[in-house]
Symmetry: C2
Subunit: 202 residues, 2 copies
DNA sequence: ATGACTTATGGCACACTGTGACAGAAAGGT
DNA sequence: ACCTTTCTGTCACAGTGTGCCATAAGTCAT
């Protein structure tokens, strides 16, 4: 990994950190790209080369999460019920958060604090989740050997799973620590599994 | 209802119709507010007095739907399980679409065609749905006599319900008629109810 | 009708996001 | 050192969305 790439990664994280701090300090809307760029000493134009939009900053976490979910899904046994596999994938994301560096953890918590009670941003996040769902539906349909366009159950399985994820992540309001979030998420997963009829996902 | 209000309503619908047609014709992104305003002979400034944003055009349906759902929820017996009530609320929305005027139906179908396969717009719609969910959670929590901040099950009930709604609405790709959509939605509702353990929503 | 009142509209200036194009700087390879 | 590739800043520009103010249209008296 050359100097170039290392520098880029450093810049990317610097932008992200500066932005999160500014957002938490003065609010998302009232922070401009110009301010963020100023804080890390780059031009606004360059900002848009690192993040395609201001919104993209808030969605940074999703890209990573989606990757982990798809990988985990791939590694689960073929004959495992799809919803169970998805819940494992969800736990894998959680585990990744738990085992990440302090810097990453802090970013994650800052983002959570930022989202908390800001419908506009939660909306963005949910919308991004819908995008992820499309990929998951394809993976699930492939596993079940059906056409994703025709099979409603594949859609429902993924939709229910991402509901559980969303409830688990959003529910714990106020400042929370990673262990607290983790516990809460585990509770939600259990609750979801208890709510569904055994074998519903075939 | 005075002349003023009638005129306003007429303008609002004229804007909506012109916008939907332009969107379907040349795409959402490449249609400007200026064009839409031009098509109905108002100034761009006035456009923003009818719709707070260009995106708002796409969300027009939600406002109505949310209203119906909350009303229906209110009219259901107190002791009915919450998820069942939500499914009834969903059927009420559907019924409203079925029994609306040809103009309204056409708008609905155009909107569906517009959303179809446009992640950006589906995202908007989903994000708006998250907003609705917050209101529904409050209503459901009130019915169940719990604090919405503490009770995960209330969140899960609403989340599952809105999943079912989303799957039902999105799933039928391609041009569809209202009866087809309706049938599909009924299927989804049944599927969702079959998937859940009886009494899970207490 | 005439006038007074309220509300809707248009026009203007403006801030902000996001993009294309180009020139110069930085890094990589030889 | 050189040349190539990639990154960066600057500039110009299109588009969305808002505040402000003057004017036009509607409402409601008398």
């Amino acid at each position: 990994m050359g100097l170039r790439e290392r520098k880029k990664e450093k810049t990317r994280l610097a932008i992200l950190d500066a932005a999160l701090d500014l957002f938490l300090e003065q609010g998302y809307e009232s922070t401009t790209v110009e301010q963020i760029a100023g804080a890390v000493d780059i031009s606004p134009r360059t900002f848009f080369r690192y993040f395609t939009s201001k919104d993209h900053l808030v969605l940074w976490f999703h890209d990573h999460g989606e990757e982990i979910m798809l990988e985990t899904l791939d590694s689960r046994p073929e004959d495992e019920p799809a919803f169970t596999s998805l819940m494992h994938a969800l736990r894998a994301v959680l585990h990744d958060v738990e085992s990440s560096t302090p810097e990453e953890t802090e970013r994650f918590l800052k983002l959570r604090r930022l989202l908390d009670g800001q419908p506009r941003l939660v909306g963005l996040s949910v919308a991004r989740g819908a995008e992820t769902e499309r990929h998951l539906v394809e993976a699930v349909a492939a596993r079940r050997g059906v056409d994703p366009d025709e099979d409603q159950l594949s859609h429902l399985i993924v939709a229910f799973a991402s509901c559980a994820m969303r409830v688990g992540f959003e529910c714990p309001r106020r400042d929370a620590t990673v262990p607290e979030i983790s516990r809460r998420m585990a509770e939600t997963i259990e609750l979801a599994e208890r709510s569904l009829r055994p074998g519903w996902d075939r």
